[in-house]
């Protein structure tokens, strides 16, 4: 459908589940995820129309990612050191989801967004680059860097 007849309701129905899941994975907490979800869609409604027809999903991811990064900067969140996490973790053979989630939390916002977009949301690099406003190469580099840190954290 062309954007002439695209409505806020359609944007919500098509993308809200995916965006909410993304917000939840990025922020790790329901209340924060809800704020991010609301801020993202409100920002989209205010900035209407979408910049490119048929590319609304990448547009929403971009808004959500920027907002999440801004929020984190404003909160001046103290990010735990990955090495500290590895030292604190007890010795084990298997890695639980909670371990992984904890390690994801420690990633810098840009890398965390890249990792979640690729490995959890399953977006192609082209869309990740659009969401993060960087080149595909840079998006790959961020995912790769995030993976390296996560592997080290849960090793």
């Amino acid at each position: 459908m062309d954007t002439d007849a695209l409505t806020f309701g359609q944007l919500l129905e098509r993308h809200e589940r995916e965006l909410f899941a993304y917000a939840l994975r990025l922020s790790g907490q329901r209340a924060d995820a809800e704020d991010l979800y609301q801020d993202t869609f409100l920002a989209a409604f205010r900035a209407w129309p979408p910049p490119r027809q048929g590319n609304e999903r990448a547009w929403l991811y971009k808004i959500a990612t920027n907002r999440a990064i801004d929020r984190e900067r404003r909160a001046k969140r103290i990010v735990a050191n990955v090495d500290d996490l590895a030292i604190a973790a007890p010795e084990r053979d298997d890695v639980t989801l909670a371990d992984l989630a904890g390690a994801i939390e420690t990633l810098p916002a840009g890398q965390r967004a890249a990792f979640v977009l690729r490995k959890v949301q399953g977006l192609p690099y082209l869309e990740i680059a659009a969401a993060l406003d960087c080149s595909e190469e840079a998006a790959r580099a961020r995912v790769s860097e995030a993976l390296k840190k996560l592997k080290a954290a849960v090793a």
Binding site: L6, F8, G9, L12, E16, R30, Q38, L42, W48
Partner: protein, 196 residues
């Protein structure tokens, strides 16, 4: 709590904020009815749309966006009065609708045809020719048929009460069977069309 419930609550809060900022102009909902699902929309001046089915037509959506912008959002609360009145109508407990209707965005002729149609009382039928005449052009019965076929608010604007001069049903956007059922609810006598 399921993911759907969490998102549902988040959505309610989002839409309340959008409404406060004047970003949400039209609220829509899908109502269940004996005729199947009805996609309904309510704008600032009243009911804008009743569409047979659970999704609106492109034409209808374009009209809403043209008149009220893209702020067309899901809203169960806004449709509650219409839902109650439709329920009462289908159960034989209501003969007239009290909800306001909003025909913005239609051509002047369509508006006149629908305004004339709105005056046909419960249980009565009129003809395309009579409606065309009331709309100001007695020779335009075919055009009146076209306007009625694109009636955005069927049932409440009772285009089902317009039939051929010989009592034949002729046509209906929701299908002839639906037209027949609506007339049966009202106990209309097809072979005695009145001049309304």
């Amino acid at each position: 709590m399921t993911m759907d419930m969490v998102i549902g609550e988040a959505r309610e809060r989002l839409l309340a904020r959008a409404k406060r900022e004047g970003l949400a102009t039209v609220g829509y909902d899908v109502l269940e009815s004996p005729l199947g699902p009805l996609w309904v929309a309510i704008g600032p001046k009243g009911v804008t749309t009743i569409h047979y089915g659970d999704e609106p037509s492109d034409r209808e959506l374009r009209r809403l966006v043209r008149v009220y912008g893209p702020g067309v959002v899901p809203d169960h609360r806004r449709s509650s009065v219409l839902a109650r009145e439709l329920d009462q109508y289908f159960n034989g407990k209501r003969r007239e609708f009290d909800v306001d209707v909003d025909l913005s965005g239609l051509t002047p002729f369509q508006t006149k045809v629908l305004a004339a149609t709105a005056k046909i009382p419960f249980g009565a039928v009129s003809t395309y020719g009579a409606v065309a005449k009331r709309a100001g052009n007695a020779k335009a019965s075919r055009a009146a048929g076209g306007a009625l076929n694109q009636n955005p608010i069927p049932i409440v604007v009772p285009c089902h009460r317009v039939v051929g001069s010989n009592g034949s049903l002729v046509g209906y956007a929701g299908g002839l069977d639906v037209k027949r059922r609506l007339l049966a609810i009202e106990g209309a006598d097809l072979f005695r069309p009145r001049r309304h």
